[in-house]
Symmetry: C2
Subunit: 616 residues, 2 copies
């Protein structure tokens, strides 16, 4: 009886117990059979490109090339890794932010005689261990003239606590190249090998690229051979002009044109259309913050295209295109290029910009871009030394009530944006105080990989809905406060929504009421017996730099951001607010949160069926 | 191959799969056999008393009587429930604080023909459901002249999320009596049945009661037929005297003597010994806060015995006793009785007190009682409407360094104490900024069940150690702040430690520096544009009552309690501090916390063995 019970506890199907050795032997027999079948199946037939639609080189030399596909029904990714010059082995894996400690790895290694494949993990010291559960499932290995192809499969969620959970958004892939045979996995010194990281969106949405019509034309809006200033941050402004008499077209695709060699300098670019109320705009080619920049250029704020580092070509959905040209549309465009030049290189020339694909055959809907998140103001700041500090921007019910059509809008793409301290970004749709769905989320967001991402499913937003955007920042390496602003060492929290049909609402953001920040400084002043003077005549950033940061001043700021009323920017394209009272608005309150998705794991074994016991 | 893989994923032991019906049928056959064996084994043999050393009536009439034992090796409790007048069934179970919603229940019910036993749970509406996992394991049922005996077993931790986790400290047992047969478990209307709760310490420590020596004598220190004042809270003081020439004895046991009928009025009692430096003390019999109370009585603070509602007799460990009598020991004792009279009953007379068991055969060590936690001061307050607000009192390294002997002290018992808002109490021992062990914890603490509890294992505390006591309060039903103080509607956070050998340190507590509280009121004043005046001339409680409570004022107070320096009370028996600087002391910082114990659950099935795959 007892042995019967214990065997039924170890295995949910109440079966006679096999000894581990028998099971292992059965298993290896199966794997061997399986490998033989696979190798036979692959003989003479190169893997078809269609099977693995996504491809990225892992290392700068292209020795490792990863292709993959995503099966949402199976909740698994199939990988094909091409190793061009295999030496003693390779490591491939994933980790939270690309680090080699606490990473989840597939390892191929040779001891000089045989080769082995295994699912491993690295501990906090970078030491490798075999996983107790093998979740990188080897499906095949094939030698070809160009190198070794490894095929393997990985479920999104494995329920092994040592494994990485593959989620939507950015995934930090890591790789390492073994130069010499090792006698065991444990003998690999992960800090001594050639290694690196590559960021990808692994879980690409299951959307087909719309075909371009036959009458598609292209136009390039590029900087005219600019000398990139030798300073860390530059926003470069350049005015371009559409041909006279250019009638209404739909932009249906665009992509970046980057001057070769400047890939690491061009941080992000946008093409803005100017306000139609002015007949003409002065030409300008220079820094956006220059005193020489004509005032009127501030009326060029209607976004036509936005690209950021890492983004691929952008396609509009078949039923929508971005309108430009024709009556009521300015002929003037402003290209803004954000150069990030941390090494302060001198004399680099650049002609980067954006190539627009457009058509005269108008699609049913005009599309638009709407900016959510935080206003660029130093009022919103992050204390130094924080590993995870949250700031939230609100697009309130009052604004959507006023600005959205009764039939609502459809969001089809989203681009998240922060500066260097950003670690996570999420926008949630709320209705009547209840969170409804995530619009876009990236739990492994990197400011170095800001793609415009198509949403898995189109999100409908109606008048009265709220869009709440929260960014998580890490300032552990900073010694003074990080304030909101345009500089790369300042911060932003933005989600650019791509949607249709077009509305007048171009910007729906918020920031804490500045009066409450004044109270905060006063309060910290008083609390510290005015030893520290945060005089109101000093700029907000300098007042923040003077705060003596400790758990109290940090907690009070955090609490204030979750309590104080907000100033809402509910703006039309021309930087003009919609009519209404937008100052000292109450913070939206949420009565119901979305539940964290819990990974589906195999159920724990159940000792007994759930039936009452009849008594004699 | 594919089917082989999927079966190996569902079941870790790669076995032929049984159908559920076969498994269930096997199971019921087994259970039937098991029950027959049990009933046979129990025939004619009454359960032995020793098997279930702990006993408590569940209901006031004693219809249900629970006996139990604890097996620490098995991590399980064995219950014997005697049902004296069984009608249609009974419910027995556990829940967080004695509520019938979200409770974990064993149910015995009859449909008029047969009886059934099952492990069930109640949802947030009190509706009953069978557990998917049956963890109240029925071991036997036996009819006897006095009623039906049900024997069942329950593991401390079952890993069923619907089950209650049996932990150290208070457990709220609940019971219900079914008067009429029901056709199913789901048909039981939990709100309509006769039901109640009983608090017990289910996991009694595995300690034997020391035998009393043959020369043991007793002495009763009781109030002299006091008329309990018709007010909610009274601390009654009565002076008693030891016989002249009474030499040194050891108290080795004491227990409460409660006047019959006053069980609900006597909240707690203490016997204090007076300071030896005064030759005589005036007689007094009256309220402790009376202006008529002689000043000198404030020098009677050395605790000899402490009892609170729900406590049983207290035994000292074999190697220690509490010294009293002899030279250097005052002949004068002060009995303090805390009467809690919420119904403001008039004219109730009381002669309650404490019976001391003492011996002239001195044991190796003198024992002592030390008070940890928060100073009784309104500086420490809880905002209204909080479901879980924490306050922490510190016994600092500086105090233990000064006051404890090099060989340390041994704590053998502990009594936790709060007033009505208390929900949890825990004391943790820290050394060099690292939490070492829990001294005593009650996650289901009730102010209505304040026992002195023997510790499972004696805790050694050395000079330089820190003792950190945290209380969790619930003020959801209150509309104004709850301040620290003596009144029943004010709060305390206390852990009375029982230890040996005796030291001079009788009280090691703390409270936030009052200057920081002043800053807090100032700050809230300023923040609210001085609409609310919390003038410093008003008492601290009244300043707290004037705070406009919201998430900001709450968070700032919480943050301040975790940040501001403390005033430390490191006191000798005579309410005199040890010499040293005790004001504006830094808060102890912890670099390492104890990990929450995670319940041991059966491991999830593993799809594949952890061995590398050799490649061809």
């Amino acid at each position: 009886l007892a042995s019967m019970q214990s065997s039924s506890r170890a295995c949910p199907c109440s079966c006679p117990s096999f000894k581990l050795r028998e099971v292992a032997s059965m298993y290896f027999t199966l794997v061997a059979v399986f490998l033989v079948i696979l190798v036979v199946a692959l003989q003479g037939s190169a893997p078809r490109g269609n099977d693995f639609p996504y491809k990225v080189p892992l290392d700068p030399q292209g020795l490792l090339e990863l292709s993959w596909n995503v099966s949402y029904p199976e909740r698994a990714v199939h990988f094909q890794l091409l190793v061009r010059e295999l030496r003693a082995g390779i490591l491939f894996g994933m980790s939270d932010r690309g680090e080699f400690e606490n990473a989840d790895l597939a390892v191929l290694w040779s001891d000089g005689h045989s080769s082995y494949f295994g699912d491993a993990w690295s501990d906090a010291q970078g030491q490798l261990h075999m996983d107790s559960q093998q979740d990188y499932q080897l499906l095949g290995a094939r030698k070809a003239p160009e190198g070794l192809y490894l095929l393997f499969r990985r479920a999104f969620s494995t329920c092994d606590p040592k494994d990485y959970l593959i989620e939507d958004g950015t995934v930090h892939l890591i790789y390492g190249i073994l130069e010499k045979p090792v006698h065991s996995l444990q003998a690999i010194n992960i800090s001594a090998i050639h290694r690196g990281l590559q960021r990808v969106q692994l879980l690409k949405p299951n959307i087909s690229i719309p075909e371009l019509p036959s009458d598609v034309e292209t136009m390039e809006i590029t900087a005219p051979d600019v000398v990139i200033p030798s300073q860390e941050t530059t926003y470069w402004c350049y005015m371009a002009e559409l041909p006279e008499g250019f009638f209404k077209h739909h932009i249906i695709k665009y992509e970046a044109v980057i001057t070769a060699g400047n890939e690491a300098l061009v941080h992000h670019m946008e093409v803005f259309q100017c306000a139609a109320e002015f007949d003409s705009f002065p030409h300008y080619n220079g820094p956006c913050d220059s005193k020489m920049k004509p005032e009127r250029l501030n009326s060029c704020r209607h976004v036509l295209a936005a690209w950021a580092m890492g983004a691929q070509a952008f396609y509009y959905p078949e039923e929508a295109g971005l309108a430009f040209g024709g009556p009521g549309s300015s002929r003037y465009l402003r290209l803004e290029v954000h150069y990030h030049n941390p090494l302060v290189l001198q004399g680099r020339r650049d002609s980067s910009g954006i190539r627009l694909y457009y058509t005269a055959s108008l699609r049913p809907y005009d599309a638009g871009i709407m900016e959510l998140g935080l206003v660029y103001t130093p009022v919103m700041a992050i204390p130094p030394g924080e590993d995870s500090f949250l700031l939230t921007g609100y697009c309130t019910d009052k604004c959507t009530q006023l600005a959205l059509p009764a039939a609502g809008i459809r969001i089809f793409a989203s681009q998240l944006h922060t500066h260097l301290a950003g670690r996570k970004v999420v926008t949630v749709l709320a209705r009547a105080g209840r969170e409804q769905q995530v619009v876009n989320a990236d739990g492994h967001y990197s400011p170095h990989f800001q793609e415009i991402r198509m949403l898995k499913e189109v999100v409908a937003v109606f008048p009265g809905d709220e869009l709440i955007t929260t960014c998580t920042y890490n300032t552990e390496d900073r010694s003074r406060a990080t304030v909101g602003g345009f500089g790369i060492m300042e911060e932003m929290c933005v989600n650019y929504l791509h949607y249709y049909p077009l509305t007048q609402l171009e910007l729906c953001k918020s920031a804490m009421d500045p009066g409450y920040l004044h109270r905060y400084f006063n309060l910290i002043n008083r609390f510290n017996d005015e030893e520290v003077c945060m005089c109101p005549r000093v700029s907000i950033p300098h007042q923040f730099y003077s705060v003596p940061w400790n758990s109290f001043s940090r907690d009070v700021l955090k609490s204030l951001y979750g309590f104080a009323p907000i100033s809402v920017h509910c703006n039309k394209s021309s930087a003009v607010r919609f009519p209404g009272e937008w100052e000292k608005q109450p913070l939206p309150t949420l009565t119901q949160r979305l539940r964290e998705p819990t990974p589906r794991c195999p159920p724990a074994p159940r000792p007994q069926p759930a039936a009452p016991i009849p008594l004699d």
